[in-house]
Every structure is written in structure tokens, then in C-alpha cells.
């Protein structure tokens, strides 16, 4: 081989996965930095998921060794009337709480975005309720929505309405918990606010010069550019909605007439109130996990049709 040929020979081809020594070192350092998180993720998330999956094929009470029973927990779930009642209650809650939550968060974010001198004070006031733990909020709402002495019903009566027994009426209990959930809208509103402030002002200026009204600007500029954040909120909201538990545990005990027996509440009862049902509770956990995964997946897949990342 001549020297000319050697000089023009192509460099050895690197495979897609090959990395240099420096890259390997960087990866190692990077992994070392996030190793506490990796450890926590594996031990406190992945392992329980796998263990729950294993337990879902057993009859288990938490103490005696698990007894393998194949798919029996899943076939029982299919025929379990309470499971389907819990599914209905959970999906009713999520179907109401998630969209109402988006609207509430958007409204609060817009209110937080007003060009006023005292806006930091308003932002604090609007955000404050979402800082309260759900446990405390539950007790506050029990007092507010007391059918006899609660201020909400007193106001409704004073304007001539016949107010409901919020947590005591099976037709209203679930909706009352949906209303309660809006106390947490401030958290999401902060993310929405960041999104609103990220919209280039020149878009609004151009629209205003063209004579667009507030509603037109909102529909054609704000809303489309906020869709990536709405997508994020929907996925988080669906996941949270399917896991609703605390309010039923503290306020309604799953009632009245099972109207607030949510999936996680039913799971908890099976795991810690009923004997030897930890395996069944695990099967419920697996189904809740898969449901959340599927719904988040569907939301994500359909997002291509309605999420706008760029107005151009």
C-alpha cells in the first residue's frame, strides 16, 4: 500500500454505541452524582412495584408467608361489585376534577399575571390555600360545608336557595370533594403563570394593532401557546385524580352509600382493614398503575393533535 493510499484511508468507523474513554468517565461521574436518586428510585419505587406485582398473585395478610393463588385476585376483581363502584366513583371524580382544575389554574394564573403594583400580595393570597395539607383542608371544608351551620349554606339560604347536604348526600359528596380539590389549584397556577409570562409580548401587540379583542387574543395566542403546559397538567392531574384518597378517608369514610369509595380507598381498606387481603390490594394497585399509565399514554398520544409548540 502506498503512503498516499494510507493517508486517504477512512478512519476506523465507530459503532453507534461506542464511547471514548473521556465520555465513559463523564458518564461514570454523572451516575455517581445522581446515585442517591437512583438508589431511592430503585429501592422505593421500582422494587415496591415489582413486589406488588408479585404479591398480586398471592393470598397474603402481611405476616404469614404469601400463598400463591395464580390469577384469582384478578378474576375476583372482575366480579367484585365494589371494585366497579370504586371505578365509577374514581373516574367521575377525575373527569370532573381534572378539567375544572385546568380552568381554575388558568383563571388564577391570569389573575396573578395582571400588571398591578400590589400583584405580589395577590399572588401570595391565591397561592396560599394550595400550601395547606389536604388533611387540614378536609377539616376546614367539613366546617364550611356543614349543612346546618356552615357559612356556604348560610349564604345560599340567604339568597333564597335550598342548599344541599354536601358530604351527606350521595349525589353531592363526590362533587364536594371535587370542589375541595380546587384548593390545590394554586400550585398548578404557578406553572401556568410561568407559561403565560413566556409568551412573547410582541404577539399580543401585533394582535392588538390588528384590533383583536381580549377574547380573540386569548383564544388565538394564549390558549394555543399554553397547550404544552395544559398537557403536563392533564397528565399530572389524571394521575392524581385516580389516586384520590385522603378526603374519603377523613371526611366521608367512602360514603354515603359508597359514593366516595375511590379505588385507592378500597385498596387501603383491603390492605389494612380486612384480613388477608394484601394480595388483593396489590392486584388493585397494579390495575390502578396500569390505568394511570394507559390514560397518560392516550393523553400524550392525542396531544399531537392539539398541543401547539410554535405559533409560526
Amino acid at each position: 500500500m502506498s503512503t498516499t493510499q494510507a493517508a486517504f484511508a477512512a478512519p476506523p468507523r465507530r459503532s453507534k454505541w461506542s464511547i471514548t474513554r473521556g465520555e465513559r468517565k463523564n458518564i461514570f461521574i454523572g451516575l455517581a452524582f445522581i446515585s442517591p436518586w437512583i438508589f431511592g428510585f430503585l429501592v422505593f419505587l421500582i422494587y415496591p412495584i415489582i413486589y406488588s406485582f408479585q404479591l398480586s398473585f398471592t393470598r397474603y395478610g402481611g405476616i404469614l408467608p404469601p400463598e400463591p393463588i395464580g390469577w384469582a385476585n384478578y378474576t375476583r376483581m372482575w366480579n367484585d361489585e365494589v371494585f366497579w363502584i370504586a371505578m365509577r366513583a374514581t373516574f367521575t371524580y377525575a373527569a370532573l376534577a381534572v378539567p375544572i382544575g385546568v380552568v381554575m389554574a388558568m383563571a388564577i394564573a391570569i389573575a396573578m399575571d395582571q400588571p398591578m403594583r400590589e400583584i405580589p400580595l395577590y399572588r401570595t393570597v391565591l397561592f396560599l390555600p394550595s400550601v395547606l395539607p389536604l388533611f387540614a383542608t378536609s377539616f376546614v371544608f367539613m366546617v364550611l360545608l356543614n349543612p346546618n351551620t356552615g357559612i356556604v349554606n348560610q349564604i345560599l339560604r340567604s339568597i333564597g336557595l335550598n342548599p344541599p347536604n354536601w358530604f351527606g348526600d350521595p349525589n353531592w359528596a363526590n362533587f364536594s370533594i371535587v370542589l375541595m380539590a380546587q384548593m390545590g389549584a394554586g400550585q398548578v397556577a404557578l406553572i401556568f403563570l410561568a407559561g403565560l409570562r413566556g409568551i412573547p409580548p410582541h404577539l399580543y401587540e401585533s394582535a392588538q394593532l390588528d384590533g383583536a379583542s381580549w377574547a380573540q387574543r386569548f383564544r388565538n395566542i394564549t390558549l394555543p401557546l399554553m397547550t404544552p403546559i395544559i398537557l403536563y397538567d392533564l397528565i399530572i392531574g389524571i394521575s392524581g385524580g385516580i389516586q384520590v384518597f385522603t378526603q374519603a378517608y377523613i371526611i366521608t369514610d367512602g360514603g354515603p352509600a359508597r359514593s366516595t369509595t375511590y379505588l385507592v380507598f378500597y385498596l387501603y381498606n383491603n390492605a389494612f382493614k380486612y384480613s388477608m387481603q394484601m394480595g388483593y390490594a396489590s392486584a388493585l394497585g397494579v390495575v390502578i398503575f396500569l390505568l394511570t399509565l394507559v390514560l397518560a399514554g392516550i393523553t400524550f398520544l392525542t396531544s399531537k393533535k392539539w398541543v401547539t409548540y410554535d405559533l409560526t
Binding site: 395478610g61 402481611g62 405476616i63 367484585d80 367539613m142 346546618n148 351527606g168 354515603p256 380486612y274 384480613s275
Partner: protein, 450 residues
């Protein structure tokens, strides 16, 4: 130059220091060690309760008294999260190897927890503590039955309670009825007679009741309460079957449904609603919003404390038809030794004291609960007059919820059916059939049962 370079530590000064330290420790230990060793010699027992005040103070007092008299065991009492049927804290702690040596558990779920392996057989620890493990020798029969599972003692019964009809006598006089009908000596009314009398107390304003005579499901008006009253047995042990759909239970629920249809469940619900955690002073019976309610003997102490001037009477629970015997039911708590306890014999000694005569004597007197030790019944030293009469009349009329490995599930199913019936979201037959099927599906895992 550093100051430390001047003062070199030589061997002699080290030896001097060590000698002085050793002497000091020796003197201190001569004073401290005998007591320290004495404390170490005692078996350390950790006991958990979920009760709050005022019962918690009494429980602490009993533990203090136990520690003072026991030469071998020292108990530490801790309050933890939990409720009658919710044992999440206990289960997770036992699973994690950090559970207590003794636990105060609702007696009604003893069978359920024993069946899942959470509780220890008490035969040996009680025998070692010199306590007869045959529970029927010491305790009231229903309490002994509830504390056992498959013939084995898994708990020592503690207190008990039973349900009666509490009536506001001022209101009864206001409507011209005879207060003598509402005493423990009187023959029980029928449920229909009670309804008629109480309806006279209803006051409606703007479409809502501002006062209501009697709301059947308020306080202790549960599915079990009416089922027992109408003669339901709830379980067929030989067939390993729950029977919430039996005719007696259906008749009880028919009466409830008719009552609800007549007055309107929503309006009655609103009349008696009180949020969780409301102070006792806001109890609708104490605020004169209702004329009567089914509740337990603990209400005697509550009234004495928060509204001593209230003119009230206590009567036997009504009956379906005149001439029938009134039936009520008793509940209560127990003490158990969970799986994994480190000081089993120490816990056995503590249980024998706490749930035996010494502990129950103090608990009954201080908290106005009823004892389960048969020898304490009617003891004039521990009961006030009202309480003594209450126990004397109503305990013999009491039955108990069937001890089943699905006790918690059965309770939830019965209550769900009961609520669906009185709120009108289901008819009686389908609601009871649902309760039967949902419970039976789980009970089948345990069949046969003794």
C-alpha cells in the same frame, strides 16, 4: 509559636488523669449502678393504644400502677394512629420488626387479625403469668367469645359498652307524653310507637327540620342494631355463610326504608349532621336538636360532664312487636400480644393486670365504661347509680357481632347496604344481596369455620 507546644502531655500526667477519672466513675457507679441494674433487670414492655383523652390518662394511670407493683416488668405506654378496624400502623410496624409487645385492639376484629397471623396465642403467656387462659372462667361469655378464634384465646377482653335509647324528657313532657315510658324499668316500646311519639317533636322551618324527634341511623343506629332487634343472626356457621339477606334483617330494613320515605332522608341527615371532631358540646342531643337517639353508655359520662342539667331518660331499645324481648348489642376493646413481640411473658403479665380485675376496676370507675370481668359486674364501688342500673338491665339483653375472619368487611358491607336503603339509592333486597355476595366472596377463603 503555638501554646500547645509548651504543655507537652507526659506519661505521668496521663496516668494521673486516668486514675482520677477511674476513681470518679467508681464513686458515681456505686451510687447509680444498683438502681440502673434494677431497672435493666425488669422486662421492658412496649404497649400501644389508639385511644385519645380522656381514656388515655386513665390508661396511663393503670400502667403507672402496674409498674409500681411489678418487680419483673416495666411497661411504656404509647399512643399511635389507628381506629377500631384500621390497624395500618400495627401491621406495618410488625412487618418491619418494630411492633409493640402489647396492643389495645377492638375486640370485634380479634378473629380477623388472628386469622391473618397478626396475633399470638395467649395460652402460654397467660399461664406463665398465673392467669387462667380459659377466658370464660373470668369474663362475660360474649366478650370471651369475641376474644377467641377457632377455640384459642388471642386477646383478653377489656371494657365493654352496650346500646340504649337516650331520650330528652323535657321534650317528652312538652308534647304531653308520659316520661315513665322512657325508663330502664319500663317495657320496651315498639319501633312504630317510638316513631309516632317522636314525630310530634319534629319542627320544620323553610323546608328543613330545625328539630327532629328520632333519626334511626344517628349515632349507634347501625345495620347491626336493627338487625339484632328484629331477630337477625347474621351468620350460619355450619354452612360457613353470612346471612344479611335473612327475613329478619329484610324486615328491619323494610322498617328503616318506610321511615326514611315518610320523613325524607336528606332532611333528616341535615338535621343531625355534625362534622368529625366536633366538640361534645355540639352533640345534637345536648343542643336539643333531637328528642332521642340510640347510643352507648359512654354518653352517661358525656352528659354528666358537658350538660349535667339535661333532663334525660334511658330506655331499652324498642321491639318490632309488643311483647317481644328487647335486644341490643355490646362492643368494646381488648388487649393482645402481636406477632413478633420481644417480651411475650412480660406482655402476658401486663395483660393479666390491665385486662384483669385491677385494671378494669380503675378503667370502669374513671371512664364510665363497663367491665368484662364477670366478678366486677354490680360492684357498687366502681359504678354510679345510673351506670349500675344501665349495666344491670341492658347487658343481659346484649348480644355481640359475630366473631368472623371477615368482621371488618362484613361491617362495611352492612353499613353500605344500610346507607343505600335509607338514602334511597337501592331497594332492600338488592342492597342486602350485595352485602351477602361481597362478604361471602371473602369468607369463602376461610371455610370451614368453627
Amino acid at each position: 509559636m503555638s501554646q500547645f507546644t509548651h504543655k507537652r502531655v507526659n506519661r505521668r500526667s496521663v496516668l494521673k488523669g486516668a486514675a482520677a477519672t477511674g476513681l470518679g466513675l467508681g464513686v458515681a457507679s456505686s451510687v447509680y449502678l444498683p438502681t440502673a441494674f434494677a431497672a435493666q433487670e425488669k422486662r421492658q414492655v412496649l404497649a400501644w393504644v389508639t385511644h385519645g383523652e380522656p381514656d388515655l390518662t386513665t390508661l396511663h394511670n393503670i400502667v403507672d400502677a402496674f409498674n409500681e407493683q411489678s418487680e419483673t416488668t416495666e411497661v411504656t405506654l404509647e399512643q399511635v394512629q389507628g381506629s377500631e378496624t384500621d390497624s395500618a400502623k400495627l401491621i406495618t410496624a410488625v412487618r418491619g420488626g418494630t411492633g409493640p409487645d402489647a396492643y389495645m385492639l377492638d375486640r370485634f376484629v380479634v378473629a380477623e387479625r388472628a386469622a391473618s397471623g397478626l396475633l399470638q396465642d395467649l395460652t402460654d403467656p397467660l399461664t406463665n403469668a398465673g392467669f387462667d387462659p380459659d377466658l370464660t372462667a373470668t369474663y362475660l361469655p360474649f366478650a370471651a367469645e369475641e376474644a377467641s378464634w377457632q377455640g384459642t384465646p388471642y386477646a383478653l377482653p377489656f371494657d365493654t359498652d352496650t346500646r340504649g335509647l337516650f331520650v330528652n324528657l323535657d321534650m317528652i313532657e312538652e308534647i304531653g307524653e308520659d316520661p315513665a315510658k322512657f325508663t330502664l324499668e319500663a317495657d320496651p316500646l315498639t319501633w312504630d310507637e317510638l316513631k309516632e311519639i317522636m314525630a310530634k317533636l319534629n319542627v320544620e322551618d323553610g323546608g328543613n327540620f330545625t328539630r327532629f324527634g328520632f333519626v334511626p341511623w344517628h349515632e349507634q343506629g347501625h345495620a347491626y342494631t336493627y338487625g339484632f332487634s328484629f331477630g337477625a343472626t347474621f351468620v350460619d356457621r355450619a354452612a360457613c355463610a353470612v346471612t344479611p339477606d335473612e327475613p329478619a334483617m329484610a324486615a328491619a330494613m323494610d322498617w328503616i326504608k318506610a321511615y326514611s320515605d315518610e320523613f325524607g332522608a336528606a332532611k333528616m341527615q341535615a338535621a343531625v349532621f355534625n362534622p368529625e371532631g366536633s366538640p361534645p358540646t355540639e352533640n345534637v342531643f345536648l343542643t336539643n336538636r333531637i328528642g332521642a337517639m340510640i347510643t352507648g353508655d359512654w354518653m352517661i359520662a358525656t352528659i354528666a360532664k358537658y350538660k349535667p342539667e339535661l333532663n334525660y331518660g334511658i330506655a331499652k331499645l324498642p321491639v318490632p312487636e309488643a311483647g317481644m324481648q328487647s335486644t341490643t348489642w355490646a362492643g368494646g376493646w381488648s388487649w393482645v400480644i402481636p406477632y413478633g413481640a420481644r417480651e411475650v411473658d412480660g406482655a402476658g403479665e401486663f395483660l393479666a393486670y390491665m385486662s384483669g380485675e385491677p385494671g378494669q376496676r380503675v378503667y370502669t370507675k374513671d371512664t364510665a365504661h363497663l367491665p368484662t370481668v364477670a366478678a366486677l359486674m354490680g360492684d357498687p364501688d366502681i359504678f354510679d347509680e345510673v351506670h349500675a342500673k344501665y349495666a344491670e338491665v341492658l347487658l343481659p339483653l346484649s348480644t355481640n357481632r359475630p366473631p368472623l375472619p371477615v368482621g371488618g368487611k362484613y361491617w362495611d358491607e352492612l353499613q353500605a347496604a344500610f346507607q343505600a336503603i335509607y338514602l334511597g339509592t337501592s331497594e332492600v333486597g338488592p342492597a342486602l344481596e350485595s352485602a351477602r355476595k361481597n362478604t361471602q366472596d371473602v369468607l369463602d377463603q376461610y371455610c370451614p369455620i368453627e
